[in-house]
Structures are given as structure tokens and as C-alpha cells.
């Protein structure tokens, strides 16, 4: 396997920064306002970035630190910001994430928040405040996402008598994926707390009034009871060792099962089995049928994609899931790349490919698009599968791009893309296969109108 050159500079990064992931996770909690403790630009840039994918308003507050705060500390502005957000939004929760600025000046955010509570929070009706440390210079948006989810659970959930609810920590999937997941658990007759859940907050209806806080999100009452659940299912093969799931296990003895993102047939099968086991119910008919229909479709379309070479990139767990799906349908993933660096990427890819008669792809973590393009040219790919940021290369190299994951900001409907479950696999399979057929048709002198 060829080694990636070790460049010093980053050109066109294949990752985002930590506070962005935290903001997304906080947006998935009912009544919450995400709040970045740092200079104004961070909040505004991240809002803009999130808007370009979801096409939804996302209000992220900021402590808007200026020069004097950078020198004397941001405590006063953090408190003022919390006060103003409370006054204007009447939130149930404010999720405070730090930035490189406030981490480096050494603001003790937990202490400041405690002071704020003592000084300004007189009791009932005041929002809860959760804080998470997300210095932008360590890790990517995915670490921020998982850290915020964990902070929420650690700071809000308590233990107690077991109930029949399960916790699902699905990771960073689309709004459509979350809605599918909710339908799925309800079809299993399960009561589940899904954290975070931005399926409505970041993909809502047309309204008559601007929502102070969009409706939807994981209810706080459910989060507080997560320590009483009978089980936690946590999705992601490249998760950090310490997560919301492990914290529920260690602090409240909630049994934890870690699974991959349910993308592709086998990962979905595993997920379905886990739901069947925990619910005591068989896989509902609807899903058995969907699986059957999917397999039938794979047979119908296999010839058009067998042996095609794919480059997959994006956040690690999404890449792992997509790679599994591609290999299952006979596409050869030749390069799996991510800007993340969990250290678990390569093993995860190998694990999902096992038994599929698929030659192992090159797997690279901590790469940017300059690296990806360098390798891609040599690897002669037929398709790119990843988010919008691969478009530049796709255009240059005339290789079709199949858009999955986040961000998708050059097409509408990124938030409505279904990746997970048999239905997601079906949609992805159709898109991938049709993209290859269209390419063949476009490149052909004849332009056959039957396959």
C-alpha cells in the first residue's frame, strides 16, 4: 500500500472544527439554544455553514468576545450572553461550547457557569446550562458532536429504577435518517430516547412566525431519565473510547451495545437484530419486505456496477457505512479517506468488508482533498461518494459524484437524504447504479434507450 505524503500545510480540508459538531448536537435537544463561547465570527461562520446544508434557520448565540476579554477573560461576556439569550429565547437549555480562543485564555467555563447560576438563576423557570470543552485545535467536528452528546448525558441524566425505554445514540446522520429511526423503533413497539434528534429542528415546516426555538428535539425529561433505561445502542465504529454510551454504562449501569451506523445490508441486519432482541419482538413485516425488495433490486442492477471503483470520503463512520454498502453491491472501494483521526478507521473498514470477497482499499485518515486528489488520480476511480466538497475534483477529473453525508450545499435536500436501513440502502443503490448508467449513456456514441 502506498503511503500518503506527509504534508505540513492543509489544502481543502476534509473535516470541520469541533464547536460546529457541538452546535449540531445541541440543536437536537428540545428547547435548547447552542451557545459558543468565543469571538463572534465562530458562531456566524458555523451558522452559515449549517444553513447551507439544512436550509433552515439556526440561531447560535455567541459571547462575542473582543480584545479586552481576550486579555482579561471572557467571564463577564459569557454571563451577559447567557442573560440575553435567556431573556430573548426563554430556552429550557443553553448548550455552551468553548472555542480555541476561550480554551487558550483559560476561561474556567464550568466555574463561570456556577457563578452565573448563583448570581442570576433564582430557581424555577431558569434554563439548564450544559457546557462542553471543544477547542478547535484538537479533533474535528465529529469529536465535538460526540463530546457535546456526552456532556449532555453526564450533566443531565440521573440513574434510578430501570424502565423499559432504550437509549439510541445514532451519531451524525441526516434528518431523514432520524425520522426513519423513530419510525423504526416505534414499529418495534419500543420506547426510545434518541439523542440528539434534530430531525425537526433542522428540517421543519414552513411557518407563520419565526420560531424562537424550533420545535422538536430530544425532550429534556427523557434525557434526564436516560440513566434509567434498560439498554443503550450507540452507533459508530470509530467512536472515542469515552462517549455518552460509556458514561451511561459507568455511571448508571445501563448496558451498552455498540454497533456500526446501520448503512448497507449487513450493518442494518445487525441493528435490526439488536432492536428485535431488546424489544422481544420480531423484525416487523414491513422491514422484512423492504429487505427482500432491496435484495431483488440488487440482483436487477448488479451488472451495471460490478467492479466499478469508488473513492469514499467524509467523516469516518459515514465512510465506514458507505464502504460496507458499496462492497455489498459489488462496487470496489479503492480509497477510503477522512480528515478525522480516530485511529480506528482502518480496522473498521476491514471489519465491514470481511467475507465480501473485496480487496482491501487504501484507508487514510487525517487527510485533506489535496491528498485525496493525488491518490485518486492514480487509482482511476469510476465514482466519488461523499459530501459536496468533492465536487471540485469530481468536475476536474470528470468522475461522477454521488452525494452523501454532510455538507451537501450544492444540491437541495441534503437533510432529506436517507442513508440508513434497508430503505436507505435501496435509495443509495438506485442513485449509485443510475449514476453509472447515466455516465455510460452520456459517454456513449449510440445512447441506447434500453439497458
Amino acid at each position: 500500500m502506498s503511503k500518503m505524503p506527509n504534508y505540513i500545510s492543509t489544502t481543502n480540508a476534509c473535516k470541520l472544527c469541533k464547536p460546529l459538531g457541538a452546535s449540531l448536537a445541541f440543536r437536537g435537544i428540545e428547547g435548547a439554544v447552542p451557545f459558543l463561547h468565543g469571538s463572534q465570527g465562530c458562531a456566524t461562520y458555523m451558522r452559515r455553514y449549517i444553513i447551507s446544508h439544512f436550509n433552515e434557520p439556526i440561531d447560535i448565540a455567541s459571547s462575542s468576545l473582543g480584545e479586552k476579554h481576550a486579555i482579561y477573560g471572557g467571564s463577564a461576556n459569557l454571563k451577559l450572553g447567557l442573560k440575553n439569550v435567556t431573556a430573548k429565547y426563554s430556552p429550557e437549555l443553553i448548550g455552551v461550547a468553548t472555542t480555541c480562543l476561550t480554551e487558550t485564555i483559560g476561561d474556567d467555563v464550568q466555574m463561570i457557569i456556577q457563578e452565573y447560576r448563583d448570581e442570576f438563576q433564582s430557581g424555577a423557570g431558569e434554563p439548564l446550562i450544559v457546557s462542553v470543552s471543544t477547542p478547535s485545535y484538537s479533533g474535528s467536528h465529529m469529536e465535538g458532536f460526540h463530546a457535546a452528546t456526552k456532556a449532555v448525558v453526564e450533566q443531565l441524566s440521573s440513574g434510578g429504577e430501570r424502565n423499559t425505554t432504550i437509549n439510541i445514540l445514532p451519531g451524525f446522520i441526516s434528518a431523514a435518517d432520524l425520522r426513519y429511526l423513530k419510525e423504526l423503533v416505534s414499529d418495534f413497539d419500543l420506547s426510545a430516547t434518541i439523542l440528539p434528534d434534530y430531525s425537526e429542528t433542522l428540517d421543519g415546516e414552513a411557518l407563520n412566525e419565526y420560531p424562537l426555538i424550533p420545535k422538536g428535539g430530544t425532550p429534556l425529561s427523557a434525557i434526564t431519565r436516560m440513566g434509567c433505561s434498560k439498554k443503550t445502542l450507540e452507533c459508530g465504529r470509530t467512536l472515542p473510547d469515552s462517549t455518552a454510551g460509556t458514561s451511561l454504562k459507568v455511571n448508571h449501569q445501563v448496558p451498552l451495545t455498540r454497533l456500526g451506523l446501520p448503512i448497507g445490508i449487513r450493518e442494518t441486519d445487525t441493528f435490526m437484530s439488536a432492536l428485535a432482541e431488546v424489544s422481544g419482538n420480531p423484525v416487523p413485516e414491513k422491514y422484512a419486505t423492504a429487505r427482500g425488495r432491496l435484495v431483488d433490486a440488487l440482483v436487477d442492477g448488479h451488472k451495471y456496477i460490478f467492479g466499478k471503483r469508488a473513492i469514499v470520503y467524509g467523516e469516518e463512520d459515514m465512510v465506514v457505512g458507505i464502504t460496507a454498502l458499496l462492497a455489498e453491491i459489488g462496487v470496489h472501494p479503492v480509497l477510503c479517506a477522512s480528515g478525522g483521526k480516530s485511529g480506528k478507521f482502518k480496522n473498521s473498514i476491514e471489519a465491514v468488508l470481511e467475507g465480501l470477497n473485496c480487496e482491501l482499499p487504501e484507508v487514510h485518515e487525517n487527510v485533506d482533498f489535496f491528498d485525496i486528489e493525488e491518490r485518486a488520480t492514480e487509482l482511476k476511480a469510476d465514482m466519488l461518494v461523499g459530501h459536496s466538497k468533492g465536487y471540485t475534483f469530481s468536475r476536474k477529473a470528470n468522475i461522477p459524484l454521488i452525494r452523501v453525508g454532510f455538507p451537501i450545499h450544492d444540491r437541495v435536500g441534503g437533510q432529506r437524504l436517507l442513508h440508513i436501513g434497508y430503505h436507505g440502502a435501496q435509495q443509495l443503490f438506485d442513485t449509485i447504479t443510475n449514476t453509472m448508467i447515466a455516465k455510460k449513456q452520456d459517454d456513449s456514441d449510440v445512447g441506447y434507450s434500453y439497458m
Binding site: 481543502n12 460546529l20 465570527g41 461562520y45 436550509n55 434557520p57 480562543l101 487558550t104 484538537s138 407563520n208
Partner: protein, 452 residues
């Protein structure tokens, strides 16, 4: 009565024309917790310098600052496209602890060797300001070794608002100006400042100027080139667009090189024509003035009849404006008037006292004028004024759309040509095609009207 969602600290930054003598606070730091639509100093610098297409733009900081500004703008280049790449030192924890200078040095050398740029701009971010990396020293060293200008841009995010970033960008460019050969430049020559060549606009504007006999020495910065900026002090006049993004550079050139400047706008028919006339007036050249008149007449002959159909449909519709710079807002107020529309709210992120004074002079009674707004204020006013279209940038778009209001992107991120005479037509088309879309009859706002 003001909507409930205005924080008391924000009240002095909002004015209803006619309610009281005009006074508006502005150019303040954004209020903590107010969810300002503004970005930061770094953003200001990046906006101004980004379109210089043959330079490496290296962001020295953690990955976010570079990644959120990767190719988001529509600034086109007629040649090299280095500006569309996102370079970063991607600072890691160890760099923050031990200092990022070694990494910056190596990254610069690597990128310069790889791309052979005409210059490199190095943007400072919050964290760099804090850990005290000596950007200037590293730049100086690389400049010496590589023989190209390596320019530090002191744009730490927390050091003021976006306007401070404009200043930082101008300071960086100041080091280039005056270093090139100015021989052979016509006495009827100008630099175009403050146009960023979104969707190729500067090509249109250059063409207008050339048609009336003017040589354009440098585009600062749309479709910009380092060599042009180096010799831009050979021009006779600086023509500055926008609310002062490049004003500091123009003032510096006046001081150092005795080059006067005029402020113009290329948006809307009146302002576009006036820009050409003003330049012709400056050169005091009868032939040039005549050419300008002919150009305007020719352009209007085709444009005005085409505008009529849009005007007929749009007359009486209401518009709200919230843009980055107030200068653009002036032009938009006039452009909407030309379409028969009423502007009922207008605001900006970075207006000055003089800007707002002028805004209140040109707007109608009852218009809301607002500085450094946020989603709750904007949405409250949009609803109160029952507007038909909202003009802003990407961050404002979902506010309009969520409420079922048409939207037009008139920010640095747009990809449509809206300047000049053909731009006015595009603008009219875009406003028309959004306002007249049948989708609005389905949104709750209008659906309710139908019922009542």
C-alpha cells in the same frame, strides 16, 4: 410599539423614520447573546483579499477559519484560481502550546514551492493573536528566501468587528502598492477599488470604463493580480465602491501618492450612470463625458423597455434590505424604487453614522433602519411590515424562507451578476421570479390571508 424581542441594549441601534429625531448607534461590538449576523475581523480581511487570484491565501489557525471560507464567494478570475483553494496551517494542540511559527514557516515554503504564487497572504486568527506567534517575522523570513511578497494580515477575530478586518486587509495591500513599474500608464487611468468580481461584474465595469476611454490599472481586488496592485500608484484616480472595505487603502494612496479618490456604486441604473459621469467629470474631458452619455443612453435604451414588464408586476410590493455594507443599501433602495417597490426596512452590519444619516434621508417615512441586527429582530420586522421580498446574504435566507417570504441574495456569496445595467435587469428578473412564484400562496402567511 417595538416587538418584544429587542434587548434594551439594542434599542439605540434601531430607528423608525419619523418617530423621533434621527439618531442611531453603530460601529459597536456585537452584543453577547444577541445572535448577531456579523462575523469577525478575519472575515473582513478575507472578504477583501480573497479575490486576488494569483496569491496563496494561507490561514494560520485551527481548521475552522479556513474551512468555513473555502470557495464560498463568487469572485471569478480570468486566469489563475489560487484564491479558490483553502490553505490552512490546521494548528493542533501541540502547536498552540509550543508556538505555531515553525509550522507556519514550513507550510508557507511548501505552498509557495507547490504553487509558485506571485505573493502570499498570511491571515492571523484568534488563536495566533493569543499565543503570540510573530507572523511578521516569519513572513519576512520567507519573503527573503522565496523572493515574493509575503504579507501578514493581522486579522485576529476578536480584535474588533468586520470593519477592523477591512483595515487589516488594506494594511497588507499597502505594502504592495508603490513597488511596481508605472511607465506607460495613461493620464486617463483609474484603479477600481471595492469590487470583488462576483459573477464577473468587474469585467462588465471595466468594459464600461474602457468604452469611455479610461485605462484601468488595477482591480482591487476582483480578478486581482499582485503585479497590478504593485503598480496601482501609477493611476490618476481611485474609484472606490462599497462602504469603505477598501477606503483605507484609497486614503493611504492619497496621502502617499497624491491620488484622489471618489466613492461610487455600480448597483442600479442611477448609481451606475452617475459613477461613469463622476469619473468623466473628474478628468474634465468633454469627449469622455460625451462617450459616457452615449454609453448610458445606449444601455438604457435596451434596459428600460425590458424592465417595464417587471415593474408592472412589482409596483407596490414591499422590500426589506439587510446587507453587509450600507453603501450597497443606498443603491438597493433606489433600485427597488425603479421597480416601483417600497423599501420598508433597511439595515447593515457595518454602517457608519454618515451612512445611516444618508439612509434615513433617502428612505420613506416609517422605514425601519437597523444596525447589526439578528434573526429575531429581522423576522419581527419582516412580519410586521408584511414584506414581499427580503434582500440579504445566505445567513438571512432561511429567516425569509421559514416565514414564507421571497428572498434575493445580494451578498458576497451570490453567484449572479447584479452590477451595472445588465445587472439591474438580472436583479429585476430575480426579484420578479421570486416574488411572483406561486409557492407563496401555499405558505401559512398567505394561506391564512386567503381564509380571512
Amino acid at each position: 410599539m417595538e416587538p418584544l424581542h429587542i434587548l434594551k441594549e439594542r434599542k439605540a441601534q434601531i430607528h423608525r423614520k419619523g418617530d423621533a429625531p434621527f439618531a442611531l448607534e453603530c460601529n459597536k461590538d456585537s452584543l453577547a447573546g444577541a445572535v448577531s449576523q456579523r462575523a469577525c475581523v478575519f472575515c473582513g480581511s478575507r472578504v477583501v483579499l480573497y479575490p486576488i487570484a494569483d496569491a496563496v491565501h494561507l490561514v494560520h489557525g485551527p481548521i475552522g477559519c479556513a474551512v468555513y471560507t473555502w470557495d464560498i464567494r463568487g469572485a471569478l478570475s480570468s486566469g489563475p484560481e489560487l484564491h479558490r483553494l483553502s490553505f490552512s496551517t490546521d494548528l493542533q494542540e501541540m502547536d498552540v502550546i509550543f508556538g505555531g511559527e515553525p509550522k507556519l514557516y514550513k507550510a508557507l515554503i511548501e505552498l509557495i514551492d507547490r504553487h509558485q504564487p506571485k505573493a502570499a497572504f498570511v491571515y492571523s486568527t484568534c488563536i495566533v493573536g493569543l499565543i503570540g506567534d510573530d507572523l511578521q517575522a516569519v513572513c519576512k523570513r520567507v519573503e527573503k528566501e522565496k523572493g515574493i511578497p509575503v504579507l501578514p494580515v493581522m486579522s485576529e477575530g476578536f480584535k474588533g468587528n468586520k470593519r477592523a478586518g477591512y483595515k487589516a486587509a488594506c494594511n497588507a495591500m499597502e505594502k504592495l502598492v508603490g513597488t511596481g513599474d508605472t511607465s506607460g500608464i495613461s493620464k486617463h487611468s483609474i484603479n477600481i477599488l471595492g469590487d470583488f468580481n462576483l459573477a464577473g461584474e468587474i469585467w462588465l465595469i471595466r468594459d464600461y470604463y474602457q468604452r469611455i476611454g479610461i485605462e484601468v490599472v488595477a482591480n482591487i481586488t476582483g480578478d486581482g493580480r499582485i503585479d497590478d496592485i504593485k503598480r496601482s500608484h501609477g493611476a490618476s484616480l481611485n474609484v472606490v465602491q462599497c462602504s469603505g472595505a477598501t477606503m483605507d487603502l484609497a486614503n493611504m494612496m492619497e496621502e502617499r501618492f497624491n491620488i484622489p479618490n471618489i466613492r461610487v456604486s455600480y448597483f442600479g441604473v442611477e448609481d451606475m450612470a452617475e459613477s461613469l459621469y463622476e469619473v468623466a467629470r473628474y478628468f474634465n474631458d468633454a469627449e469622455m463625458m460625451e462617450k459616457a452619455r452615449i454609453l448610458v443612453r445606449d444601455e438604457l435604451e435596451t434596459l428600460l423597455p425590458e424592465l417595464q414588464q417587471y415593474k408592472a408586476a412589482l409596483t407596490g410590493k414591499r422590500a426589506a434590505i439587510y446587507v453587509g455594507g450600507a453603501f450597497k443599501a443606498f443603491s438597493l433602495v433606489k433600485a427597488f424604487r425603479l421597480l416601483g417597490m417600497d423599501v420598508v426596512m433597511v439595515g447593515s452590519q457595518t454602517g457608519t453614522a454618515e451612512d445611516y444619516e444618508e439612509l434615513q434621508e433617502i428612505t420613506d417615512e416609517g422605514t425601519i433602519i437597523i444596525d447589526d441586527a439578528n434573526p429575531l429582530e429581522l423576522s419581527a420586522f419582516i412580519r410586521e411590515k408584511d414584506v414581499d421580498i427580503f434582500v440579504g446574504g445566505v445567513k438571512e435566507r432561511p429567516i425569509a424562507y421559514k416565514l414564507g417570504v421571497a428572498f434575493c441574495d445580494h451578498n458576497h456569496e451570490r453567484k449572479e451578476l447584479l452590477a451595472g445595467f445588465s445587472g439591474m435587469l438580472n436583479f429585476a428578473k430575480e426579484v420578479y421570479s421570486s416574488v411572483m412564484s406561486p409557492v407563496w400562496q401555499f405558505v401559512p402567511r398567505r394561506a391564512e390571508e386567503e381564509i380571512s
